[in-house]
């Protein structure tokens, strides 16, 4: 039986201090499970050595000429996976927030449940997350529900597993952090099966300084509402 080819997509911006460890740990876990994989780092116009460190650690690196945002970098990585005929693609954060065990376990969960878009939810078991982060993420998940009608406990999670069908059909239009919510909406529009599985959130001082803060939520909400209105009145 032909083994499943898996692409691990890591969008990264100025992550030279963490990306090496993330790649090496993931390589070790994936090799232990005898997965046919490729790690793809999308360097989103970093000003530091992210690309060089990622290449040295053994990842395939795609360099963005311009910084486009998390959504743009994720789209590039998934496009690469689709063009190279991977069976599954998994996105994860470059700051070490996701455990490699959870990333690799997502493959089994996605295969068993035959899900097209599987989200690793930090809120199904929120141990390790600060109350502020829990509140912020629950708030954005609620906003995602109000604007798009999607019921997800952790709409902002960066750990997602995409089936071949999702790689071929799923597209979105925003390129900042708001793409997390828009992606779910687009998946629902085209009839993809969406599900969640529990993951651990690993917060270090470094990873806490990255990612979204709760004030950024206002910009995300503004962008999502604008997108929704444009869809209603536009082409």
């Amino acid at each position: 039986m032909k083994s499943q080819r898996v692409a691990f997509i890591i969008p990264a911006y100025n992550e030279s201090s963490a990306i090496g460890d993330v790649i090496l740990d993931l390589k070790k876990k994936a090799s232990q499970k005898k997965i046919d994989f490729e790690i793809v780092v999308v360097d989103d116009g970093s000003k530091d050595d992210t690309a060089r460190v990622a290449e040295k650690s053994g990842a395939t690196v795609i360099r963005h000429i311009l910084n486009t945002g998390s959504g743009g970098a994720t789209a590039t990585g998934l496009s690469y996976a689709q063009q190279n005929s991977f069976d599954l693609a998994i996105t994860l954060d470059a700051d070490g927030q996701h455990s490699s065990d959870d990333v690799v376990n997502g493959i089994d969960v996605a295969n068993k449940s035959k899900t097209d878009l599987l989200i690793g939810s930090r809120l199904l078991d929120s141990q390790g997350m600060s109350r502020v982060k829990v509140l912020g993420n629950k708030g954005l998940s609620f906003i995602t529900y109000v604007i798009f009608g999607i019921n997800a406990t952790d709409s902002q999670s960066g750990l997602r597993v995409f089936s071949r069908k999702a790689l071929e059909q799923l597209r979105w239009k925003t390129s900042g952090f708001e793409f997390c919510s828009e992606m779910l909406w687009r998946a629902k529009q085209i009839g993809l099966k969406i599900d969640e599985y529990p993951i651990k959130a690993i917060y270090t001082d470094y990873s806490k300084s990255k990612g979204q803060n709760n004030w950024n939520a206002f910009n995300i909400i503004k962008s999502l509402v604008k997108r929704r209105v444009v869809e209603v009145f536009g082409e």
Binding site: I65, A75, V232
Partner: protein
Amino acid sequence: MKHLSFRRFIFKSAFWIVVFFGLLLAENLYDFLYKEGLTQTEPLSLFDVIQITGVIYVFYLVNRLYVKVDLLERRVQDLHQELSIRVSKK
């Protein structure tokens, strides 16, 4: 995409039908509201109607422009994405 286009067709058709009947029956509606005491505003002059129509049309044009700019932005993003992948493959 077909599903989206059909919904958009329905929405746009409904929108323009409402606009059409709104314009067609505006005078009758005004007479009805005035007779029932639901409005006390003076009837609009021809100049007022033209002015309001012009303002609404400007909003419509702005929306169309915004949609075109949005589409252009996405095409540039797609181009950038494809270029980045091809350059990285070399």
